[in-house]
Amino acid sequence: MISIELIKAGYKKGNAIYMNRAKFDRIRKKLRNASVGIAGVGGLGSNAAVALARTGIGRLVLVDFDKVEESNLDRQYYFLDQIGKTKVDAIKENISRIDSNVKVENYNLKLKKGSMSEAFKDVDIVIEALDNATTKTEFIEEILSNLPEKPVVAASGVTGYGHSDRIITKRLGKLYMCYDEHALSSEDDILMAPRVCLIANWEANLALEIILGEDK
């Protein structure tokens, strides 16, 4: 793992040990001009947002109605001293401590059927990071029908532990699903950091793939 400091140091010195400088510049520039919207900043969304912030993404639009609770800290990107804050404020604070150039647009609201796509009109990609299966389905359907040109990255099957190699990406038109069909519902199984973060980062990684295309 190369830290941001090392990449920046290497970059400043024109050091070619870590990466091809032209590629570095090209990718950073593309990402600085890109925007991603995330619906929900719980287990999936908070971790995906932080992963994207670390890549130097230009703008994040984050929507969540919830506040940070102690029980969230087993998998969500928050800290003990943030309990009681709204999740969108807390994640904005955490992102600003990683990269202050990432623009974070916050919406402390509950997504309501019929107006779910409004906050996401002018982002390049939407990440579905909600928890309840019905809400997840409604959200995806609403984005796909109201914003038909928008790529949607979604996740289904995040509970439990192990079985990393059961996770696959299913693509259906503009919908990209991080998917484990054998996982149980969160009503019947436990949510744990390793798998939730794995899938959150899978979503972030898919978003990058869509933004950057193939760059060899």
């Binding site: 929900g40 719980g42 287990g43 999936l44 969304g45 990071a129 909600l130 928890d131 309840n132 299966a133 019905t134 997840k136 389905t137 995806i140 979604a154 996740a155 289904s156 099957g157 995040v158 509970t159 299913k170 259906l172 038109g173 919908l175 699903m177 998917y179 484990d180 069909e181 996982a183 149980l184 519902s185 969160s186 009503e187 199984d189 949510l191 939730v196």
Partner: protein, 66 residues
């Protein structure tokens, strides 16, 4: 006289709609997508479309958790 649902081989039932097949499979999750032989079937057609013999069906579930 069989069909394949999510890679599982099961008996084909004459005149069975997608809706009935989903019930037979006990798929109670909110569904995102059903594909028959790689063709996406709109949700509004679940009670009209008859599952053909020898077809390959993919059902993508939405499972709670996040």
């Amino acid at each position: 006289m069989s069909i394949e649902v999510n890679s599982r081989k099961i008996d084909w039932v004459k005149n069975e709609t997608i809706k009935h097949l989903l019930r037979r499979m006990k798929y109670t999750f909110p569904l995102v997508v059903v594909k028959i032989n790689n063709q996406v079937i709109p949700r509004s057609d679940f009670s009209n479309v008859i599952v053909p013999d020898n077809s390959k069906i993919d059902v993508i579930h939405m499972i709670s958790g996040g």
